[in-house]
Subunit: 159 residues, 6 copies
């Protein structure tokens, strides 16, 4: 069974890593899809996001990292995935993901969205919180892979 795990990964956090790693225990192949959404203003370029996401996941043999510019269900179809994986941290995640899961079901009802609960130590983590802390020079080493930590420091020094 192939599953896709989509996101912006701007940047990837230890919360994303946790969900992706746990997915590899229950699916044969996990295709991580980095969304190239021109209408979203990301801190990191698509190339940077692809780069550090691949680096962070390089030890997970069942994982591939790819970019997608289409509807999520089309991305899943292309890769033969019948499952979309999403992590849930909180109520607001739940509501938005619930909406997206139903819309995706209407667009292709052969693809199921399955949800995994964020681990307790990752429930408070988000890419945007990590960026805010980094912007003020706070220590983010417990929140992101080491490669991302250095890049965030660069990003905010340059600015």
């Amino acid at each position: 069974m192939t599953a896709v795990c989509p996101g912006s990964f701007d940047p990837i956090t230890l919360g994303h890593l946790d969900i992706i790693e746990r997915s590899t225990y229950i699916y044969d192949r996990v295709v991580v899809g980095i969304a190239d959404n021109p209408s979203k203003a990301e801190l990191f370029s698509l190339e940077e996001r692809l780069d550090f996401t691949k680096e962070a996941l390089k030890n997970l043999a069942k994982v591939e990292v790819l970019v997608f510019r289409s509807l999520l269900v089309e991305f899943a179809q292309e890769h033969g995935a019948k499952v979309i994986i999403k992590g849930l941290r909180a109520i607001s995640d739940f509501e938005h993901e619930f909406q997206m899961a139903h819309l995706n079901k209407r667009l292709d009802n052969t693809i199921e969205t399955v949800f995994l609960m964020a681990s307790p130590e990752c429930m408070f983590l988000s890419s945007s919180a990590v960026k805010e802390i980094a912007a003020y020079g706070g220590n983010i080493s417990e929140f992101v892979p080491s490669g991302v930590e250095a890049r965030l420091a660069d990003k905010f020094l340059k600015d």
Copy 2:
């Protein structure tokens, strides 16, 4: 009893239609108010929104479609409405609508906000989700009136 049913309608979806039609069964007259809010960046111009909203509602005899540029309670007062109708889909709707209902009550306590639950098949629908799917060329025919479908296709082809 006259009720107003306000919104941005950018664009109108089948979820809006459902709430408005159900409102006509319990109120004598339903004034649909399209908010002209200059601080919100809408995809469709006010004229376009007025146009396709009128078209979508043309078979509902008790419904009028108007634009408003004032506080919602002033719009209700102008049209002799004692009721504001809002659809509720989810928890985040609930919270925001709850806040607005109380503020409006403080601004004019003779006007009541009444809430109708979205129908199950419309609970996952929102104007923004529809626009996102259309932007990627996805099929939105089950989510919006046919007039809106064509216009969304135009909008994203032009861009």
Copy 3:
């Protein structure tokens, strides 16, 4: 337009009164229905609940107080009501009421459930909280009609 406003009213609180009074401003006739549900263990007997609910609402000319032992939609049908009124205080109310509204819609789709938001000063009020405070001899005069206050005192003295 006739509306029904159902509940256990065990006992009626100022929160119930607020919703019922506001309902009379937007409906021609409000039938308050006291549920006679043998499987629920109520503090007050059906007779007591009917008695103090009538007393509390006696000055509202458009209101009738009745008992019902059937499905809520059947009670509404019997009284020619196309509207069921419910007050919403909080998220947990919202969820339960949402479920009930959809089920009732499936049982009779010509009847709409409309929701009014509890007034800010009533958002923390519930019959069960009032009973708990009264059980410890706390002052409940700001939470219930005066007739109910005396009866609650009696109830807990007797016990």
Copy 4:
């Protein structure tokens, strides 16, 4: 991949059926576990629940129906399941399931709980709502398998 899908099934509803059927599309084998929890007062006996659950699922080739009297993770271990499947309807489900998923992870961290969203038309369905409607003689044919409908009628006639 084997998955377990636990519940009280008192009685099984079309909402349960929907989740179980969708599970068979993404797992090789789905073990439905009926909890024998002596501290819960169920309407139907364990035998009745086993009986109508088997009947309702008899056309799903990948599904087995069993009773369990142990911790859920032990039931999963016994059957070689690495996945526990739960349906999510609403926020209160979410919270409770979130708690259970984390506790189960602490008891055996090799077993993942995955969540599927209830289909829109099943979001308002619950065993307890179905029982309440049946108790008042309401029509439940759209909510439960036909075998359950007859048994519920029996149950409430007998009482």
Copy 5:
């Protein structure tokens, strides 16, 4: 500043311990109040609860453990406390605690309820979940103080 920290403690969990210990860092004296509520069916007797709660907290010098049979605000008044401490784990906690905080404020507006967030590793812990796991013989050593673990084992062996 004296604070009271009320609860049933049936039994005390590591989640309670975490909130109480953190409270001692920001208040001079923390009075832990065990509610003696005759209408609640507890697993452990009041004496047992007093006993293991005292034992679990014996190393916290600023903490006293007492029983109360009155309204919480009266218990706070008796001990000169201007603060009631509550831990928040989740949305349903939030709603119930919000209601109680407002009612208590109405009963005595000189007493403030302050909320501390449960630590991530305790967010899924509750006395009732612990009891359920123990009832099935599951390992609860990571969830409760060691004294409680032994007593729970006894309780369920005896039964």
Copy 6:
């Protein structure tokens, strides 16, 4: 005990005032911190916000008003505060604040975030709602200190 109470105060509302005043009853010193966050587009300049916040709080002897440009935990450390105070109005506040409280705890685990519930009459108030009403010329005198009312009128006349 010193507490910090951070915010954007764009503008300060009676809801902020309520939380800050109640904080002075349970802490010896309350440092109100106005966030200077260059990435947020505020209506009022930092100088204006400092000015009207000081004016609104001038009668509260235990309160100091300062600007901060660092991480919140660093601001707390600088002022010897072991407590961060936040007001909670609703579920969405809860979720965001929960996330921030945990992140701040990870950045400095000697500092506790404590939450106070908004008073019922302030639960629907927010700086953004006040600005929206003022933009349409609505009456905001019940929502903000008098100094802020005049400045908001100026702001929207000038525009």
